[in-house]
């Protein structure tokens, strides 16, 4: 579309009234930021994917089955969107929260009474956290029943199970932070379960809590894990997860019947 752009530029001032966007789109500043041509030709669409950092995570073309919702139910994508919502809402909550006893609890009170949108952002954070656990589990079920973990995606399944565990830990560590009765006793019960592991049980529990009981040390540890360590881990592992999904050509390409290959496969089976 480069030639078209030049034509527009020389076509006269009246075009800028009919197409006000063109003036900006042809300006040097805009062209230096968005370098790909208009995505209305195959080349333009490919260039859009190549030259946009955020779209670079996508391949230029995807198998056509991916376009249909029922192929993947888009559960992995929804989980990633929820992770994004949690990242943004969590950042806002961090502005008003101190992970110390008893400030934590009073900060939660202040948040819901005298911080602009405090209660709303906290609600968003809580419900998207619960939703994310649900969606990640549904994603696991979908991948299993559609057999998407089969070669060459075996290890991506293992990574996915790891991400499920991290999602649960993420939710669990966040559960303590309001420091109310609900949080305190849920974490007490939850960490007691970890205490049953033989040999390491009480050690791992004490390591998690920074003591023998849920107290100020546990609050600080859960806070650090919740806002820094586990999110960093999830971000890295999620990148590998998505990268492998893409490299393996999404879970649909090897389901297509390949007419030339079928007889060979059957012969091999018969021999075996």
């Amino acid at each position: 579309m480069g030639s078209n752009g030049r034509k527009v530029r020389g076509a006269g001032w009246y075009r800028s009234i009919l197409h006000p966007g063109e003036v900006y789109r042809n300006s040097e500043v805009y062209r230096s930021v968005v370098r790909h041509p208009k995505p209305d030709t195959p080349r333009g669409r490919a260039m859009t994917s190549f030259q946009n950092f955020f779209l670079h995570i996508y391949p230029v073309k995807v198998p056509r089955e991916i376009i249909r919702t029922r192929t993947t139910l888009r559960l992995g994508f929804i989980a990633a969107v929820l992770y994004g919502i949690l990242f943004i809402s969590g950042t806002y909550l961090m502005f008003f929260y101190r992970p110390t006893v008893p400030d934590a609890y009073f900060d939660m009170h202040t948040l819901s009474t005298s911080v602009a949108f405090g209660q709303f952002v906290r609600n968003v954070h809580r419900w998207s956290a619960h939703l994310m656990v649900v969606i990640v589990i549904l994603h696991l079920l979908r991948v299993f029943y559609s057999g998407a973990y089969r070669p060459p995606r075996q290890f991506n399944w293992v990574i996915g199970v790891g991400l499920l565990v991290l999602t649960l830990l993420m939710s669990f560590t966040g559960y303590l932070l309001p420091w109310d009765q609900l949080a305190y006793w849920a974490i007490t019960v939850g960490t007691n379960i970890a205490g049953y592991v033989p040999l390491f049980g009480t050690h791992s529990r004490n390591l998690m809590l920074g003591g023998t009981e849920v107290g100020s040390a546990a609050l600080l540890r859960f806070y650090v894990l919740h806002i820094y360590f586990i999110p960093a881990l999830i971000t890295v592992i999620l990148s590998i997860h998505i990268w492998r999904v893409r490299k393996d050509g999404f879970a649909v390409s090897d389901r297509r019947p390949e007419p030339e290959d079928e007889p060979v496969k059957e012969m091999a089976d018969a021999e075996a």
Partner: protein, 169 residues
């Protein structure tokens, strides 16, 4: 002995493993452009997800009870709902079995699943064994979680959800 001109001549340019050829053939060449076909759907799904979360956030407030008090055990102390199944399991078996062996074995099996599955294809009929085991694990976990979350009250006694709801989000 044929003359040099008639003799067929070859040169080995390279040896390609068979697997690589198959990989190449699997690349979908009839794919559709990500921009706009997939992207517009992703934008729509993202907008829908945000809308659902916002509606939930407007309708229901996140709970905040009294300040944590180690000396005052509440009527019912439940783990977060995704661990309520474990808690329910713990009320039936010894901690060693319910807290370690059963969940540990289930998680290990789940991790090793792609290497356990020796089925010939991706369809359910091609891998009946893993589908049955996985479904048993999934249904058991679901039933335990629902019981632990909605059907348990003080001292982990059975309480019907319509009598009193002890579930806490």
């Amino acid at each position: 002995m044929p003359k040099p001109e008639e003799e067929p001549r070859f040169r080995l340019l390279g040896v390609v493993p068979q697997e690589v050829q198959q990989r190449d053939r699997q690349e979908p060449d009839d794919g559709v452009f990500t921009w706009p076909h997939l992207l517009i759907r992703h934008v729509a799904v993202a907008a829908g997800t945000i809308a659902v979360v916002f509606v939930l956030a407007i309708l229901f407030n996140a709970p905040l009870k009294d300040i944590a008090n180690p000396n005052q055990t509440p009527e019912v102390a439940k783990a977060p709902w995704y661990f309520a199944g474990l808690q329910e399991l713990l009320s039936h078996f010894t901690p060693m079995v319910a807290g370690v062996l059963i969940p540990g074995a289930a998680l290990l099996w789940l991790v090793a699943l792609p290497y356990i599955d020796r089925g010939k294809g991706w369809r359910v009929r091609d891998r009946k064994y893993v589908v049955v085991v996985f479904t048993v694990i999934a249904v058991t976990a679901l039933v335990l979680t629902v019981i632990g979350t909605f059907f348990r009250g003080p001292a982990w006694s059975w309480v019907w959800p319509w009598q009193h709801m002890y579930a806490e989000p």
